[in-house]
Amino acid sequence: MRKITYREALREALREEMRRDPSVFLLGEDIGRYWGGAFKVTDGLAEEFGDERVRDTPISENAIIGVAVGAAITGMRPVAEIMFGDLAALAMDQIANQAAKIRYMFGGQAKAPLVVRTPFGAGVNIASHHSQSLEAWFMHVPGLHVAVPSTPYDAKGLLKAAIRGNNPVVFCEHKLLYPVEGEVPEGEYTIPFGVADVKREGEDVTVVATLYMVHKALKAAEKMADEGISVEVVDPRTLAPLDKKTIIGSVKKTGRLVVVSEDCKTAGVTAEIAAIAAEEAIDYLDAPIKRVAEPDTPIPFSPPLEQYVIPDEKAIIKAIKEVL
């Protein structure tokens, strides 16, 4: 199968959906013909679809999402880009109070089919305002769907499904994943929300991981295999809806659970998944659940500081060994 990057997979999803459906359009800062997106995801799309449908906006995050909401409730399918996930804080009212609640508050009269694409994640030394992983904020808001693709294949299939779906989606990308290559078929496909993917099958311990952490978990699993330990890596792919069934099923099989996420540990992604496992599968657990997450600090700048707080392969291996 052909290999393309995560960035190309996302671009291909946008291109295909824009060709298929004239109501799909893009808006965001520097996504147009002059820059092509800060991470080049939209590069070349303005040339094909024009400036009206690939719309450069002022630096006004809250209005970008508000405009997407207004367009979505009147028949369009906007895909808004927030240049860095941290900046979603500026748009939180429109995401959490408007997009997420418009359907509910108005008794089901409206739907808001919009996608907010934004990159999270640390590792490129850009400090506290450009490096956070805030997926859990959005998981906490009923009415939102949250996607966390870890591979080019998942990125393309989930983005196409997000655009076609009728709920607002916060589509979390990871900036270290953009250049990562993976197999993506030429043909048409979508990936339904709420369906986890077992990225590696195993018998001894379940590792649930998202986004870039999936790759670290897979490397850790590889090393553990050398030691004769069989690790199953489950990638939920979407945090809302969350495929509890696959996670619980894996825990029931292995009896041991490590949850890995790059966001802060307290009230984060790992906390929710661990709580679900404790609530629904505690009788199957042979060891306490272990969480590997960011240690509740802002993301620091200096490389040794930053590397210290990002969960790494070593921490995952340590956690796996602790539950064995």
Partner: protein, 322 residues
């Protein structure tokens, strides 16, 4: 269009709508006093000329966005007051099946895109509807209602700038009732006319007497016409005054008595009535007839709302997702 050229039927219809809002709101106030309204209410009494003046220039397929003080906007755009009343009382037959209440009424079938209770949050949504109109290549327009308080939110700046640079068909209607909750405009703004801010975005801005429905109509008519032809947005500031407090708990003691008296003397409903009578557009008995009919409609709405069932508790779990 100059309002002198308005047909008699249109003027009478505006009067009927303003009266409908007035009597509806007074009825809601009465119900609240009897403890029949859960939560809070923000009455539109005193500002009727704004909603009616603006919405009378719109087509059914044009859009509006509204605020926590939104009953008047709904009624002026043509909402069914039975369902508005039912929503205010938290009934299943309300516009939002009891999920929204007084601050969140919407009727998408008439282009009423809903009331948001986050001050200023409806402004970018209106711009998004305007962008949607552009991309779908229709000739609809969007009227965006918000208050003086909202004009100090970042959304006001972000949204009007976007609408201006993209020349979107949005009419920004600032209902300046001089107080953001209890805070007088002069405490939070160094300018007197909010429409002055339009210059900063390169769009026309006008201030009109928001208690004169014909002045509001005329200014909006011009703005709508320009917007439909691709001429872009306008900021219309309507100076007006709420007759009651901010919300149900507010006796509005922060407003000087003389100021209240002066504005009550400029009651927009009374003013239109006098104008209609003075210019011999209608006979007094016709207006009395209208009042009777409107009162009956409101009683009917109330009966409908009171007799409607509450939603089943477990309906709280519905409509979160499509």
């Amino acid at each position: 269009m100059h309002t002198a050229d308005l047909p008699k039927e249109k003027l009478v219809e505006m009067y009927r709508l303003m009266l409908k809002i007035r009597l509806f709101e007074e009825k809601v106030f009465e119900l609240y006093a009897q403890n029949l309204v859960p939560g809070t209410i923000h009455l539109y009494t005193g500002q009727e000329a704004v909603a009616v003046g603006v919405c009378s220039t719109l087509r059914k397929d044009d859009y509006i966005t509204s605020t926590h003080r939104g009953h008047g906007h709904c009624i002026a755009k043509g909402a069914d007051i039975k369902r508005v009343m039912a929503e205010i009382l938290g009934k299943k037959t309300g516009y939002c099946k009891g999920k929204g209440g007084s601050m969140h009424i919407a009727d998408f079938s008439i282009g009423m895109l809903g009331a948001t209770a986050v001050v200023g949050a409806g402004i970018p949504i209106a711009v998004g509807a305007g962008l949607s109109v552009r991309l779908r290549k229709t000739d609809q327009v969007v009227a965006c209602f918000f208050g003086d308080g909202a004009s100090n939110q970042g959304t006001f700046h972000e949204s009007i700038n976007m609408a201006a640079v993209w020349r979107l068909p949005v009419i920004f209607v600032c209902e300046n009732n001089l107080y953001a909750m209890g805070t007088r405009q002069s405490v939070v703004m160094a300018i007197e006319n909010i429409s002055d801010r339009a210059a900063a975005y390169g769009i026309p801005g006008v201030t009109v007497d928001g208690n004169d429905v014909l002045a509001v109509y005329e200014a909006t008519f011009a703005a709508v016409e320009r917007a439909r032809k691709g001429g872009g947005p306008t900021l219309i500031e309507c100076k007006t005054y709420r007759h009651r407090g901010h919300s149900r708990v507010d006796p509005a003691k922060y407003r000087p008595k003389e100021e209240v008296a002066a504005w009550l003397a400029r009651d927009p409903v009374k003013r239109l009535k006098e104008k209609l009578l003075q210019s011999n557009v209608v006979a007094e008995n016709m207006l009395e007839q209208i009042e009777k009919m409107v009162s009956a409609e409101i009683e009917e709405a109330l009966k409908y709302a009171l007799e409607s069932p509450y939603p089943a508790p477990e309906e709280a779990l519905e409509d979160v997702y499509v």
